[in-house]
């Protein structure tokens, strides 16, 4: 047990150094989203539609709202909301190729000295989860800071902002729905997907793993189904918000199940597969 703590400690330290530039990228990304909400707020203020400035929750809701189920028969172009799409791919970029860094150079020493390949995989999966949490934390801090300067530093939802900017009825979003659908589910789903990305990196090179994540993100936006987990990170796909939506509690269970299954699968792969030599 001690060994896994050493491995995680090393990953957090080394990962922070390795990902330093990516922290800046994350900050810029969230600043862009906040500026987008603020510019829309300004437009609606001039039209007298919106009376109050956006709160922290308004900004977060806008970023993680995703999109409604797409209907190709309407002949509208299929486009994924930029904020949600960039967050999902930003996390994949943030996790990046760090988990496989140990397969090159002196990094192999870590695999040898950890004593167990399975332990090493588990530590990398935990690192991916921590990196995802870091990404979200940076995002929330940026949003809070922006709200402090250009909005209201409050944890409530504004009906006007919801209606005119996020296109969502904020009245139906109770505190518990907000916590589960906007705070817990996107984070949990991102953790599950980033662990999947890490395990996939054991079989294929990081760039193909990233490509697979792009496919999953795009397919999740296109089809509303429990089988594509990134549906759970969109509030527009959840049953309290839209009729016939996905049940958030089932989504939480699936996410947890997915995380456990992926780690077990990763351990099974690494025992059978020579990932240092035979990776695609």
């Amino acid at each position: 047990m001690k060994k896994i703590f050493y491995l995680i400690k090393h990953d957090i330290k080394d990962g922070a150094r390795y990902n330093f530039k990516k922290y800046i990228f994350t900050v810029i990304l969230f600043l862009v989203f906040c500026a987008d909400v603020y510019s829309q707020y300004k437009i609606h203020t001039e039209r007298c539609n919106v009376l109050f400035q956006p709160t922290i929750c308004d900004y977060i809701l806008y970023i993680f709202r995703g999109m409604r189920e797409y209907d190709p028969n309407l002949s509208e172009a299929f486009n994924i909301p930029a904020a949600w799409f960039a967050v999902q791919l930003g996390i994949a970029y943030f996790v990046g190729n760090y988990p496989t860094k140990d397969t090159e150079g002196y990094g192999i020493q870590y695999i040898i000295r950890s004593g167990s390949k399975c332990l090493w995989v588990a530590s990398k999966c935990i690192y991916s989860a921590i990196a995802t949490v870091q990404f979200y934390l940076i995002g929330y801090v940026v949003v809070a800071f922006w709200a402090l300067l250009f909005g209201r530093f409050e944890f409530s939802l504004s009906e006007d902002i919801g209606m005119y900017i996020s296109n969502i009825n904020a009245e139906v979003i109770t505190d518990s729905i907000f916590v589960i659908c906007v705070l817990v589910l996107p984070l949990l789903t991102s953790i599950a997907v980033s662990i999947f990305q890490t395990v996939l990196m054991l079989v294929v090179r990081p760039i193909y793993s990233y490509l697979a994540i792009i496919v999953i993100v795009s397919a999740s936006a296109y089809y509303k189904t429990y089988f594509l987990p990134l549906n759970y990170s969109m509030i527009f796909r959840m049953s309290p918000i839209v009729a016939g939506g996905l049940d958030p509690y089932i989504a939480v269970i699936i996410d947890i199940f997915l995380i456990i299954l992926t780690v077990i699968f990763g351990c099974a792969i690494i025992r059978k597969f020579d990932f240092l030599e035979k990776r695609l």
Binding site: V32, E76, G96, Y210, L211, I214
Partner: protein, 276 residues
């Protein structure tokens, strides 16, 4: 320089990644054909059997992957385009420098010739990867649906009167498609060139390959959010022209800028490379 170009092209063709990426690209475009073009056959049969004299039959110009904007595959292909173009050859300069391969070449030829050959081969590698899967899709679609000149009254075409080259699309659609393929080829090449250029300076191979896509995605996010979608390569590279206001000027200026930046960096590297 011819010798270097030959070597570089041989290396690209022999690379497994080149064929793998072509396969991935073709898988996307062929699946679009299966899900979007092939089902049209049943409607064609209905059209032939009954007397629908006022009904416009489907033509492939509005059904192939570049001619529509409502399938997942169409979105996916144009969003991953920079990544697909870059994977096989984007990190070639990086690996050549890291492995010392350039040293072997520099004692057999001029540095300038190597860089020029690298520039040309990278450009063509990216261009071929961008265009070949689309050509496969076009060939399959042509074999399934008729090549009727699109009719505005049919209301099934994505090009409006204000769209770029709208006249051309509704009079000579083949030329429209060919010109768009040329644009996609050039941008495919430019994505690869950007990545190869970064390989001369950046230490992380993953970043070298991913950076053109990150910039592409960033433009989709930032410019798209603030109402400048017509400047976003994702929107103007699709022959279906997913937004209004796309103009040839923007496409040419952005391409020229990329050519200029990558070209200047290559010239600088060729003159100041102190390997050997």
């Amino acid at each position: 320089m011819k010798k270097f170009i030959k070597i570089e092209i041989r290396r690209i063709i022999d690379s497994k990644r080149f064929w793998l990426v072509l396969l991935i690209g073709c898988a996307i475009t062929v699946s679009q054909y299966i899900s979007n073009v092939l089902p049209c056959i049943q409607y064609m049969n209905i059209y032939e059997k009954k007397d629908f004299s006022m009904l416009m039959p489907f033509e492939w110009y509005s059904k192939w992957i570049g001619g529509e904007y409502y399938t997942l595959q169409s979105f996916l292909y144009f969003i991953v385009l920079p990544l697909l173009c870059v994977i096989p050859w984007g990190d070639s300069l990086y690996t050549d420098i890291k492995t010392g391969y350039t040293k072997n070449l520099f004692i057999r030829g001029k540095k300038g010739h190597y860089y020029a050959a690298k520039y040309i081969s990278s450009f063509f590698s990216g261009g071929v990867i961008a265009v070949v899967p689309l050509l496969v899709n076009i060939m399959l679609s042509c074999a399934t649906l008729p090549s009727l000149v699109p009719e505005t009254a049919a209301g099934t075409n994505p090009i409006f009167s204000t769209s770029m080259w709208a006249d051309l699309y509704y009079s000579f659609p083949d030329i429209y498609v060919i010109l768009y393929m040329l644009i996609i080829f050039v941008y495919g090449g430019l994505f690869t060139l950007t990545s190869v250029t970064l390989g001369a300076f950046v230490e992380n191979r993953f970043i070298v390959i991913l950076m053109p896509f990150i910039v592409y995605l960033f433009s989709y996010t930032v410019l798209g959010s603030f109402g400048f979608a017509e400047y976003v390569p994702y929107y103007f590279l699709s022959p279906a022209q997913k937004v209004n206001g796309i103009s040839l000027d923007i496409i040419v200026i952005e391409a020229m800028l990329l050519f200029l930046i990558t070209g200047l960096v290559f010239i600088y590297k060729a003159k100041h490379d102190e390997t050997l």
